[in-house]
């Protein structure tokens, strides 16, 4: 035996110990071998493990340790040298590897430790994120609640519903115990409990508005926590034992319509706030969290807006109701006015007819009466009746005209007329009066005043007559001068009336009529009242039979003719000048032939002369005969005369186109005469026209003439114009109705 360093193991002596060592080594080796296998298995499984090299080393170390322990098994018995050598090699290797591993571990253990810390860190972070996630989710839910709440609040415009809904939704969202709203009273000095969540009928508590806690809440736009003991928060009688939940109060601005005038959101311009008080459930450990407070603030703002919308809506509804009422009232008023106007027009129409008919009867019959044989006293009476009824008729016409004028329903009757003739007519009408009063009357017609004009002849004459009549009425002596000229632009400068700028044109001219009198004049203070209805002058001659309407109507006519009228006077006793300007149309030649036919003599002038017309005049009165002959000669006829019926019948022939017979001589029977003439001219169309001249206009004569087949009847005295129109009629129409 060589150096065997092992004690000869004697099985019987330490056999048990040896046996145990043997088994332990075996198991150790087993374990040592299985560990790397496990490691390899797990390393293969996980791809991430960074320290493979370490594992390999560690594996090697373990394997070698195991090998060592395994080889140790053989050393328990006698073993050869190779075993010893192997054992030694293994041990050496193991020593090397383990030292290497130990050295390696020194490097890697800190790394491993830091991995551990990082892991810890990450875990913390994850926990934190989890928490934040939870928070966000809560907030998200809160936001959803707010939106839903807002939606609920804004879905109605009824004030009461808005507030109730707010409380209900808030209570539900935040799981509140109690929620209350305090509104300011009308006086603004107290807050009154208006709405609560759980109490059906708020008792009507009021608290003064200037409590410090309230002022504190009102001065901030945030939701503030307040003490549960404050009067606004003590809504329910507390049983005593439980701890009241936290209470939060927030202000709700009550916006007024006027706050929305400014563009930016109304800040503190409103002074009225309501108070919303929210109480968390008692006995819960809940606390008001920030997001909940924010939610409350948002809701409060929304409520404010919703309330203001409701207020605006109320306002506009009220305005609309008011307008509707006004409309109804206006409609009623309008209908009443229309009814009144219609009633007045009906009245006027009826009165027009009713008043005029009797007047016409009176006037017509009086004038007929005048034509009969009367004693002088009777004549005087009839004349007075006629004068008075004419006056009355004028008055009625004036009043009716005036009301039509005021109405604006009066329209001018435009037609072509002879302007010069109008003035002559006026002169003729006024002349008798001026002769009686010994006033001198002069008329001056301007050299370029057209003979014919287009306008309302009747009303122009009325206006001129009125003005001239006034001049005559108010003058006791002296002279009246009438002048009528075409107004040129120089004359317009005289007009001291503003706003009157007449512009003559090709189809119109302005007629200026001025009437000067040397009468009693008008005092300056009366001048403005001249044209007012029913006003008489206060000084000067008293009412001399006028209604005071004359100038008023005159003015209206002048205005209708687009003109102007004014009076000037230097004072009492100094006379008066009345001037008016009216617009008339210029009549061209073609208008003249369109003159309408009436039975009035002055307007029918188709033929001015009848050259060569052979006529026969029968009249036994030499003077009459000469006058009639002169008349007919003047008109251009060839006149033969006869002094008696026999002579007449002898002379009359087919050459004569017209015969004039005077039958007012007693002993002449018109009827007989007509028969005899007709006999003489058997064929009708060769017969001359037979015209009777007579001085009396009684019906019997007229009827018998007509029955006898006379072509016409003229009343003596005959004027030139009358004769002219008679002849025209006969020539034109071959027939003549009675003229008077």
């Amino acid at each position: 035996m060589e150096n065997c360093y092992c004690i000869e193991p004697q099985w019987p002596a330490d056999e048990l110990l040896m046996k145990y060592q043997y088994i332990s080594d075996f198991f150790i080796a087993l374990a040592y071998f299985s560990i790397p296998l496990e490691l390899i298995y797990f390393v293969k499984k996980s791809a991430v493990f960074p320290y493979r090299w370490v594992l390999v080393q560690f594996g090697a170390f373990i394997v070698l340790c195991g090998a060592t322990h395994l080889i140790n098994l053989w050393t328990f018995t006698m073993h050869s040298r190779t075993v010893a050598v192997v054992m030694t090699t293994a041990k050496v290797l193991t020593a090397v590897v383990s030292c290497a591993t130990a050295l390696m571990l020194v490097h890697i253990i800190p790394d491993l430790l830091s991995v551990k810390t990082r892991e810890l860190f990450l875990k913390n972070k994850a926990a934190e994120l989890d928490r934040e996630m939870g928070l966000i989710r809560t907030q998200e839910e809160t936001g959803r609640h707010v939106r839903m709440l807002t939606h609920e609040i804004r879905s109605t415009l009824d004030r009461h519903t808005i507030l109730k809904t707010t409380l209900v939704e808030l209570g539900r969202t935040l799981a509140l115990e109690e929620c209350a709203l305090w509104m300011p009273t009308r006086t603004g000095l107290e807050l009154q409990l208006s709405y609560t969540l759980h109490q059906q009928n708020p008792v009507g508590y009021t608290v003064p508005i200037n409590l410090p806690v309230i002022s504190q809440v009102f001065s901030s736009n945030r939701a503030l926590k307040i003490s549960p003991n404050s009067p606004v928060a003590s809504l329910r009688p507390r049983a005593g034992r439980y701890v009241a939940g936290e209470v939060v109060a927030v202000r709700v601005p009550l916006l007024h319509l006027s706050n929305f005038q400014i563009n930016d959101w109304p800040e503190l311009s409103t002074k009225r706030y309501a108070l919303m008080v929210l109480m968390l459930p008692s006995d819960s450990a809940r606390q008001w969290r920030v997001h909940e407070l924010e939610l409350v603030e948002v809701v409060a703002d929304q409520v404010a807006v919703a309330l203001s919308h409701a207020a605006i809506l109320e306002e506009s509804m009220r305005a609309r109701d008011l307008l509707m009422e006004q409309n109804v009232a206006l409609d009623l008023a309008r209908r009443e006015a229309e009814t009144a106007i219609r009633a007045r027009n009906d009245f006027l129409a009826v009165m027009n007819h009713e008043m005029r008919t009797p007047m016409h009867a009176i006037i017509a019959l009086s004038s007929l009466l005048q034509e009969t044989e009367l004693t002088p006293e009777q004549r005087l009476m009839v004349e007075t009746i006629l004068k008075s009824s004419n006056l009355l008729a004028t008055l009625i016409n004036d009043v009716l005209d005036l009301s039509r004028l005021e109405d604006g329903s009066l329209q001018l009757d435009i037609g072509t007329f002879n302007l010069h003739a109008v003035f002559k007519e006026v002169l003729n009408l006024i002349k008798p009066v001026t002769l009686v009063k010994k006033l001198s009357l002069t008329l001056h017609l301007g050299p370029d005043l057209p003979v014919f004009a287009v306008g309302d002849e009747k009303r122009l004459m009325q206006a001129i007559l009125n003005v001239v009549g006034n001049a005559v009425k108010f003058s006791k002596e002296g002279s009246i001068s009438i002048s009528a000229i075409v107004a040129k632009s120089e004359t317009f400068r005289e007009i001291r009336v503003p706003d009157f700028h007449p512009v003559p044109s090709d189809s119109h001219f302005y007629l200026r009529v001025q009437v000067k009198d040397t009468g009693s004049g008008i005092s300056p203070q009366d001048i403005p009242k001249l044209f007012t209805k029913f006003a008489q002058t206060t000084v000067g001659p008293r009412n001399s039979g006028g209604s005071g309407l004359g100038l008023a109507i005159c003015k209206r006519f002048v205005n209708l003719m687009e003109g102007h009228i004014w009076l000037e006077s230097e004072g009492l006793g100094k006379g008066c000048t009345a001037t008016f300007i009216v617009k008339l149309g210029i009549a061209d030649q073609s208008n003249e032939s369109k003159l309408p036919y009436t039975s009035k003599i002055h307007e029918n002038s188709i033929h001015t002369s009848f050259p060569g017309l052979k006529v026969l005049v029968m009249d036994d009165n030499g003077v009459s005969r000469s006058v009639t002959k002169g008349l007919l000669v003047h008109l251009g006829c060839e006149v033969t005369t006869a002094g008696s019926i026999e002579e007449f019948l002898r002379v009359v022939s087919q050459e004569h186109k017209v015969v004039f017979m005077d039958i007012c001589t007693p002993g002449v029977d018109g009827y007989e005469l007509a028969i005899r003439i007709r006999e003489k001219f058997a064929k009708c169309h060769e017969r001359p026209f037979m015209v009777v001249l007579t001085g009396n206009s009684d019906k019997v004569t007229k009827e018998s003439c007509l029955r006898a087949g006379m072509d016409g009847l003229i009343l003596k005295p005959v004027s030139i114009d009358k004769m002219r129109s008679v002849l025209s009629e006969l020539i034109e129409r071959r027939v003549l109705f009675e003229t008077s």
Partner: protein
């Protein structure tokens, strides 16, 4: 004196006659019949009137002074006179004739005589005035080379 003034005088004279009722509008009508072809128409007719009326008045005087009074005849004459006077526009004469006719209807001789006197008075009045007109005023105008106005307007 210049023509214009004479003419104005003439106009005023005639206006005066009309004013006092001696003449009426018929005379003016007659004036209008007077023109260059017939320059003395008016005076001729008036002269004729004067002559006729003189005759009639004579007849009337005779008829009234002889009883029994033939009122019918008197009425005829007065009718004639009325016609003539109204033809030339002698208003007063005509009115007197109308009264005369009423008297005739009443058949009262006294009243008739009174009316006759009235008619005569009026007639001689008119005759005098118109004679003056023709003999003085119109002659003057014609001598001065002017023409008698045809109407009373300027």
């Amino acid at each position: 004196m210049e023509v214009g003034l004479m003419r104005r005088q003439w106009i005023q004279y005639i206006e005066g006659l009309i004013h006092e009722g001696t003449l009426d509008g018929q005379y003016l009508q007659l004036l209008q019949l007077q023109d260059e072809s017939n320059p003395t128409f008016v005076s001729e007719v008036v002269t004729l009137f004067f002559e006729d009326t003189e005759e009639l008045l004579n007849k009337l005087r005779i008829a009234i002074s002889q009883p029994p009074v033939d009122f019918k005849k008197i009425d005829d004459h007065v009718h004639q006179l009325k016609g003539s006077s109204s033809s030339i526009g002698a208003l007063r004469v005509k009115n007197a004739c109308i009264d005369f006719r009423s008297a005739c209807e009443q058949q009262s001789p006294d009243w008739c005589s009174r009316c006759l006197q009235q008619v005569e008075q009026e007639f001689y009045g008119v005759k005098e005035k118109l004679s003056y007109l023709y003999a003085q005023l119109e002659k003057r105008i014609l001598n001065a080379g002017g023409s008698i106005p045809a109407d009373l307007s300027f």
